[in-house]
Homo-oligomer: 170 residues x 2
DNA sequence: TATTTGCGTCAGCCATGTTGACGTATTTTG
DNA sequence: CAAAATACGTCAACATGGCTGACGCAAATA
């Protein structure tokens, strides 16, 4: 990160060039196409299971943070509980997810994948992994670090701890 | 790009570490949150105009490539013409977009923003620009290059020329 | 004990994607 | 030149996944 603040060095000419509209638009476009291509990778498998992208997101985060309370998942997904309830009802009805009463707080419902849910999530992850691993390999380790840095900067600072916690202990 | 192929040097230990699941999941998560936070930035302004994200995407690309034929926009958005037609009808009804008969091929309908459409698109772009410029500035130029490289790798090679053309002449 | 919190649910609506079937003008091809 | 392909539009029906609003209940907290 030696150059992390290259723009703040008072070099207005470099700054003006660096922040040119074309560079911003390039980022917007690559982010749009990169994201949509990534998520599209799992659509076929989801279809075969009669699930949609909303189900995938829920499965993903439950796999990532076992025993997550419903409220935490709501905060991550940034949707209403009514929207999530439809998805969770589907997943529980298919035996992919189960809930347990919280020990510390018995009002909480802690979400877990069943073995079947874990198997499906692993297969869905594999679809994403292929694309991401290929992109990492093509771009190189140094590029990956930059990729993370820019994306982190797009996330409001208040939300970063919540996302950082997903990484904890891995 | 001196390190672009660091992984292909036959160092299987480094490769195994680099491609570990945690790194992949980190990329997936940052890409998800980065993308959703970026697009959310324009929601308020869109709401005030009674438009949705689908309208924004169309406005964005029409601004980016004036005189784009409908078919090209369909290819970029990767949706059906029926879906796009609703959006374009809205935009034309509000006087934000107009169509012109193609000169070379009179079957084509070339899309253009009206002055009002251009004004709105500029305001929407400004909402995105703020977030992206901040992320670029925080991360540094070198990180931005890596950001672009990884995202490009996520896009199927066959689609890259189409996206590259958006940059042409800017 | 009163209030707040975590979660669930019913009901209805909206935005935006899909398929399928047709129609028309224009260009291209055999 | 006639036939086929292409670019675009449209009608109709449906699926997914968001939303708001209104309630209810059990458990934790003040």
């Amino acid at each position: 990160m030696a150059d992390a603040n290259i723009l703040n060095a008072g070099n207005t000419a470099a700054s003006a060039q660096f922040l040119r509209e074309a560079e911003i638009r390039r980022g917007i476009e690559l982010l749009y196409f990169g994201y949509t291509n990534m998520v599209r990778g799992a659509d076929g498998l989801l279809d075969r299971h009669g699930l949609g992208r909303a189900h995938h997101r829920a499965l993903y985060f439950i796999a990532r943070r076992p025993a997550m309370p419903v409220g935490d998942l709501l905060a991550l997904l940034n949707i209403t509980k009514q929207s999530l309830s439809r998805v969770l009802a589907d997943l529980q009805g298919r035996g992919l997810v189960i809930q347990a009463v919280g020990q510390r707080d018995r009002r909480q419902r802690l979400l877990e994948l069943t073995p079947e849910g874990a198997t499906l999530e692993a297969a869905l992850f594999e679809e994403l992994r292929t694309g991401m691993a290929g992109a990492y390999a093509q771009a190189g380790q140094n590029a990956v670090t930059g990729f993370w840095a820019v994306l982190t900067g797009l996330i409001p600072a208040v939300d970063r701890p919540m996302i950082q916690e997903l990484q904890a202990g891995l």
